[in-house]
Symmetry: none
Subunit: 248 residues, 2 copies
């Protein structure tokens, strides 16, 4: 995926260096690296940021500082303002998924801007944006911290990118070892026959009138799993063992 | 949305109270409230948890503590283990979106389990699970903290729920008659124990050095099917029959 598809993450007037570090970590978790800081309260660099970034130093080292939000997004074609919905703002309100989709599909640089920890974005910051990005959250407990907002937005950007690339929302492709196909039917039949051979002389299929239904039930239970070759072999071993007499 | 559609969040051997608090906050952000703690390192309650929860006190107050992971998920039909992929584990690997989808669409209680901050889940915790839940992450920077993992999983559960409610989802809700839910974990444990009891005196778990791996393999084979209550009962009957001596 080319860098053009990656959004710039803009933190507007962030307060704690620790939160800047955590946001950097969240970005890098999903492969985002371009961080811009608008007028960070405690200046920049901030010694609290590094430890909180837990190794995402490259993001912090490349971070650029701007005096105003307008300057920070000057080269961006699209600005998405992350905020709870503002009264009286008449902009499209989108979720993190739709924002991710737009970043991947609308050519031009995208900036996603986040406000200060306590107060959120000001009206004039929001005014710069094309969209309002709102993460639908429990209305009775809507306190989302900065790094968590950043990780959700980064995750959605990544998820949608894979969805577009793969044409499907299935995230992790199981490897061949994880998912051997079910064993061929004849192996399954061998297993069922093995069970029946051991059960029959122990009167499992009595009374006679119920025998057919009982066989059907057992077959259903053993067919459902779709066991692969190795799993069937394991169960054959279990049955062989159970046929042994107990050691003394 | 009824409580039945909400997953239980299980933190296995969490270390810092602060992280438990942050996880609780992340849960409540998306409306999840049922937290279970397996053997928290510093005991419970933990005075560091409350401040970090930033108001999500109700989640902490209702949290339940268990000695083992098995006990914590005993009443759950589905267990999803959040972990990076383990070598040699042959379970389905799903993303947070698919996990969210399963919680909403597969009847029965779901538990999503998370390992300790540093080390992650142990092999025996993962062995309890039906699925491995892996969040696809930047392979070059894959350190995801506990609360961030919890918020991503909670967010996806919420997002998929809205998608389904909004009619976007293509999934068809299976009817109860078609698909009884998998038996609760404790019934599955009873079945596994029954197999082991019968196999052990027949030397199935020899040589000693291979015993643990053999147990894990057997557990994997028996966990995969997701047998329901009736199917488990059938197999218990099979085992009881196999313990009988052959009639002459």
């Amino acid at each position: 995926m080319s860098d053009l598809n990656k959004p710039v993450i803009v933190l507007v007037r962030p307060q704690l260096g620790e939160n800047i570090g955590k946001a950097a970590r969240a970005m890098l978790n999903f492969g985002l690296t371009e961080l811009r800081l608008v007028s960070p309260r405690d200046g920049w660099p901030n010694p609290s940021a590094g430890p909180a970034a837990s190794g995402a130093d490259i993001v912090l080292e490349q971070a650029k500082v701007y005096a105003t939000t307008a300057e920070a997004v000057a080269d961006c074609a699209y600005v998405h303002a992350t905020t709870v919905r503002k009264r009286g703002v008449t902009k499209p309100v989108i979720g993190a998924d739709e924002a991710g989709r737009q970043v991947h599909t609308l050519a031009g640089r995208h900036a996603i801007i986040f406000g200060p920890e306590r107060s959120g974005l000001e009206t004039e910051d929001v005014a710069l944006a094309r969209n309002i990005l709102t993460i639908p959250i429990n209305p009775e407990f809507a306190s989302l911290n900065l790094a968590q907002a950043v990780i959700l937005v980064s995750y959605e950007w990544s998820r949608i990118g894979r969805e577009i690339a793969g044409g499907d929302a299935v995230l992790v492709q199981p490897t061949l070892e994880d998912t051997l196909p079910p064993a061929p039917q004849e192996e399954l039949e061998g297993l069922i026959a093995h069970f029946e051979q051991m059960l029959e002389p122990r009167d499992y299929f009595l009374p006679e009138g119920r025998a057919e239904a009982t066989r059907r039930t057992l077959r259903g239970v053993l067919t459902k799993p779709g066991w692969n070759h190795l799993e069937v072999r394991t169960l054959r071993g279990v049955l062989t063992t159970l046929a042994r007499t107990i050691r003394h």
